[in-house]
């Protein structure tokens, strides 16, 4: 095993059997992957493809039928390796009768942390995941997003070197999802290794350095995201301070033809809906009281305070207007 390899699987196979030992389903077949220190690794695949099985095998929740899995150079069944692992399950399966502080204190004890360290760490994490105001409420009263946040906090209580996240953004609103992705990037910046399973491909694309795609328990693709997604047959060119015109198109076509290529499309790029949504929410925070009104400019950029007005949309008007209430 190389020095910086944190997780390694060798022909890892899992076959589920019934009580009589008859084969029911092959969940994973001869998986060989390596995950290196400091990277964010994505496990992708449709439902039942074996990604959660892989995670459970790595955590020792399941035992392999064949092959081996090593985490920090130790077999996956070794309890000692868990000292350096943080795990956020798909559903945040925590004890609902505990509040946030008690939850973190409990998991801190499982890491044998002394009381003072548990207290400090719990406060720090509760602030980090934004649950300070709700820290005394039992988890049964939490929304799914809040449970996911406290779940993440418990996964970080031991300051782990390897964080395994199963569907970390599921159940989170776009703000929460962005927060989660930012946090994953922060963890990478700190030199931590992150493994994440997700259905949300855009999330994986946003944060993962490398991915493995599984289907029917078999590895289909494996490598760096950029390399895998790169389309070598096409070239993308971006420019600014230009007006779209027929002249420009013509000149470009001529230039490209000269180099043996052809122009496919030309136009203004669009932002992602996520970016647009986040910008709207951020700005609404900056302008408390502002609300959506039809027929106004979409996003006034000035700080000017305007009197509230109610304008009914006129016939045929399709644009939207935003107004501030003073």
């Amino acid at each position: 095993m190389q020095k910086d390899v944190i997780v390694e699987t060798r022909k890892l196979t899992k076959i589920y059997r019934d009580f009589w030992g008859r084969q029911k389903k092959t969940a994973l077949r001869a998986l060989n992957i390596e995950i290196r220190q400091g990277e964010v690794f994505g496990l992708l695949g449709p439902n039942g493809s074996g990604k959660t099985t892989t995670v459970k095998l790595l955590l020792g929740l399941l035992y392999p039928t064949d092959g081996e899995a090593f985490v920090f150079g130790k077999p996956a069944a070794d309890v000692g390796k868990n000292e350096r692992i943080g795990y956020l399950p798909e559903e945040s399966y925590l004890y609902r009768f505990l509040d946030a502080e008690e939850t973190l204190d409990f998991y801190g004890r499982l890491f044998n942390l002394p009381a003072s360290q548990r207290r400090t760490k719990a406060q720090e994490l509760i602030e980090k995941v934004g649950l300070k105001a709700d820290r005394k409420r039992p988890l049964r009263e939490y929304s799914k997003g809040m449970r996911q946040r406290i779940g993440l906090a418990q996964a970080l209580i031991n300051d782990p070197d390897l964080i395994i996240l199963d569907e970390p953004t599921s159940g989170l609103d776009p703000l929460g999802a962005r927060w989660m992705k930012d946090l994953i990037c922060d963890l990478r910046a700190l030199g931590k290794t992150v493994i994440m399973c997700s259905h949300r491909l855009e999330d994986v694309q946003d944060v993962c350095d490398r991915i493995a795609i599984l289907n029917e328990g078999e590895l289909q693709a494996y490598g760096e995201v950029q390399t895998l997604l790169q389309d070598h047959r096409r070239i993308e060119l971006r420019a600014s301070d230009l007006q779209l015109s027929d002249d420009l198109r013509r000149d470009l076509e001529e230039l490209l033809r000269k180099h043996g290529g052809k122009l496919d499309t030309i136009g203004h790029p669009t932002t992602t809906l996520e970016d647009y949504f986040l910008r709207i929410v951020e700005e609404s925070k900056a302008h408390p009281g502002r609300r959506f009104l039809p027929g106004k400019e979409p996003l006034p950029r000035t700080e000017k305070v305007m009197r509230s007005e109610s304008i009914a949309p006129t016939e045929g008007e399709s644009t939207t207007r935003i107004t501030d209430r003073g």
Partner: protein, 681 residues
């Protein structure tokens, strides 16, 4: 009947421990051997080579050696068993070889099965177990489990409507009802809470966030066990405290006199004289043969005696004024007798130093000195001391000791001089009895009326104990102290029934005035018996739930507990002493319409049935190892009848429970360790 403590089996004592330990090693070792065999066949053969390679070499060696020793010992045991068919070999040798081989085989199997468990114990950390215990505690409290316990309020509020209020039953009834209610509430709650905890964790997947921490899986078992035990302990303490107030509050004085105490009995051994059998008295035909009966002398019958021998007595009894001897006998009347009169019995108390020939002399001295009206002249005392000197001379004592004893007696006799000339000395009747008891080692109550099943007592002068505890010169092999009971001629046609535990000395001082406090302490000791049963069901349910689902764990734990209640009957089936035999024999009897008590006729079917039952009994004996001895932890009768629960009993019960639960916990260790916590989804 009240304040009578009966024992179906003798109370446990330290000297029974080795035998019980050997028996435990044999049965637990047998199960361990079975477990190791199953693992070798089904587990080791399927183990992947890389997993086998990870087992440390020293562990492999110790395991192999233990299995080898065990196998060899079991082979020898099998050979010894077979020798019963070889007439040339002595049966004792074969039995001893069989017995010790089973022990050695058991030790080997236990070592093999317990090795990974013992190694695994070193990884356990208290802080994690504590965290899991606290979690279990909080879980039960916050899920409002405790609300169920408020049902006991029904007893406190309305119990007196239904509990029989006859004064002599009061303490027993109240104690019985509150213990029963506590038992039902606590055991049912404990078994449900404990059986469902781990399966619920697995079903809800909350266990995933625990086992992915550096937690040994056995810590979860221990955490659950300690958490629920702590919770139930607190509830039990609270309920016991409220219950003891409820029992103490308004108890009838007559009932308090009988049972609101904690007698500390000193039991002796019982034998009979002139009954034809030393072990048994006369059989009066009662179905329950717990007691044996004696009757008075008749023209062709010597007087029958029930004799209690006491080999030891603590020296502090000699420092009291008197020592209480309590007894409760059963009466079997063959005639109506006298109206409102009991059966008259003679009680003789004698020490090892007592000489039968001195009986007349004792009686003469006793009537002479008691007739003095409590006033003694110097001459009386000199006469008394002269008589004493003569008897001491017969004992061949050294001159120093002889003079010392005489001097001490003189000082006691002249302790209360009266003013006047010639000098006179006062001696109370009790003091005279005390002196005579010490002098002769004898005390007699010629006629004591016995009433059926009522606890009565005789305050015996402590002088008897001073005599008994003197140096044992010339006492030979006689017991330190003897109590001889016989029926007097006054009640010639009546029978009095008695058992070993029906007569005892009170080690506690009945006149100390601390009886209520002693009862209260005893009440808590009784609750300790319930606590042990709580630990038992919690341990069982948690251990079972590591493999079985919640409902099944609850049912199995409940069945085992209830099976413990019927242990005696199951034992009688296992040993083939139950009337009607085993299931096959019972089937033959059913088919032939034969009653259970008549021996089977010789036939092929009968032979086949009884032989099949031998195999069946072997299986029942193995199942018997799994069933807890629940009754031994039930101490209610001690408290209800007003008898102190000996600390020995509590300590040994703790030990017995630990030994019972240990194999279950070892099994739980492996079951949870080998189990895949996550499922296919």
């Amino acid at each position: 009947m009240f304040a009578v403590l009966t024992f179906d089996r003798d109370p446990v004592q330290y000297q029974d421990v080795p035998a019980q330990l050997f028996s435990w090693i044999q049965s637990a070792g047998g199960w361990a051997a079975f477990g190791v065999l199953v693992w070798l066949l089904a587990g080791y053969t399927r183990m992947r080579a890389e997993d086998r390679a990870r087992i440390p070499v020293w562990q492999k060696r110790v395991f192999a050696a233990s299995v080898g020793v065990s196998l060899l010992a079991y082979l020898i045991a099998g050979g010894a068993w077979l020798t019963q068919y070889v007439p040339r070999i002595k049966a004792e040798t074969a039995i001893a070889t069989y017995f010790f081989s089973l022990i050695i085989g058991g030790v080997g199997a236990l070592a093999a099965a317990g090795l990974p468990f013992a190694v695994g114990l070193s990884s356990l950390r208290f802080r994690r177990i504590w965290a899991l215990a606290k979690l279990s505690f909080k879980e039960a409290v916050r899920n409002r489990v405790l609300y169920g316990f408020s049902a006991i309020l029904l007893v406190f509020l309305f119990g007196s409507w239904f509990i029989p209020y006859k004064p002599e039953y009061q303490v027993r009834s109240y104690v019985g009802v509150v213990y029963w209610m506590m038992k039902v509430l606590l055991l049912v709650t404990a078994i449900i809470v404990a059986a469902f905890s781990i399966p619920t964790d697995i079903r809800r997947q909350t266990i995933h966030t625990i086992v992915t921490k550096p937690v040994e899986r056995f810590e979860i078992v221990l955490g659950r066990f300690f958490g629920f035990t702590a919770l139930m302990t607190l509830v039990l303490l609270l309920m016991t405290s409220v219950s003891v107030i409820y029992v103490l509050r308004g108890v009838d004085p007559a009932a308090a006199e009988e049972s609101l105490k904690a007698r500390e009995p000193l039991y002796g051994t019982l034998h009979f004289e002139n009954t034809g059998n030393k072990e048994k008295g006369t059989n009066v035909g009662r179905e329950w043969d717990y007691r044996s009966y004696i009757t008075a002398a008749s023209p062709n019958q010597e007087p029958q005696y029930a004799v209690w021998d006491f080999a030891e007595a603590p020296s502090f009894l000699a420092d009291r004024d008197s020592v209480r001897c309590e007894f409760a006998f059963d009466i079997y009347r063959t005639t109506k007798g006298f109206e409102n009169r009991g059966v008259s019995c003679k009680f003789e108390f004698q020490t090892a130093h007592f000489n039968e020939r001195d009986k007349d002399s004792y009686n003469a001295d006793r009537s002479r000195w008691l007739s003095k009206g409590g006033l003694f002249s110097q001459k009386d005392l000199d006469d008394w001391l002269d008589g004493y000197r003569t008897r001491l001379t017969n004992l061949s004592l050294g001159p120093l000791e002889l003079n010392e004893r005489l001097d001490k007696k003189r000082l006691r006799l002249i302790a209360q001089p009266l003013p006047g000339d010639p000098p006179q000395y006062r001696l109370s009747d009790a003091a005279i009895e005390d002196e005579l008891a010490e002098e002769y080692g004898y005390y007699v109550v010629p006629a004591k009326d016995i009433t059926d099943y009522h606890t009565l007592y005789i305050d015996v002068p402590a002088g008897l104990f001073r005599n008994a505890l003197q140096a044992r010169a010339g006492a030979g092999a006689r017991p330190l102290l003897q109590v001889r009971v016989s029926v007097t001629q006054q009640s010639a046609t009546q029978y009095v029934g008695m058992a070993k535990y029906d007569l005892y000395w009170r080690l506690d001082d009945p006149k100390s005035g601390h009886e209520k406090a002693a009862f209260t302490l005893n009440f808590y000791k009784g609750a300790f018996g319930l606590w042990l049963r709580l630990c038992l069901v919690i341990g069982l349910a948690v251990a079972l739930s590591t493999y079985l689902s919640g409902v099944i764990s609850m049912l199995v734990a409940g069945m085992l507990y209830l099976g413990g209640g019927a242990l005696d009957y199951i034992q009688s089936i296992a040993q083939g002493t139950a009337p009607g035999g085993g299931p096959m024999e019972a089937l033959v009897r059913l088919a032939n319409r034969q009653v259970a008590l008549i021996p089977l006729e010789d036939s092929t079917a009968a032979t086949l049935a009884t032989s099949t039952d031998v195999v069946f009994r072997w299986f029942i004996r193995r199942v018997l190892d799994l069933i807890p001895d629940v009754d031994r932890y039930d101490l209610t009768s001690y408290v209800g009848e007003g008898f102190n629960i000996p600390w020995t009993q509590l300590v040994l019960d703790c030990g017995a429970l630990s030994l019972y639960l240990l194999p279950w916990f070892v099994a739980a260790y492996y079951l949870l360790k080998w189990r895949e916590i996550a499922g296919p989804t």
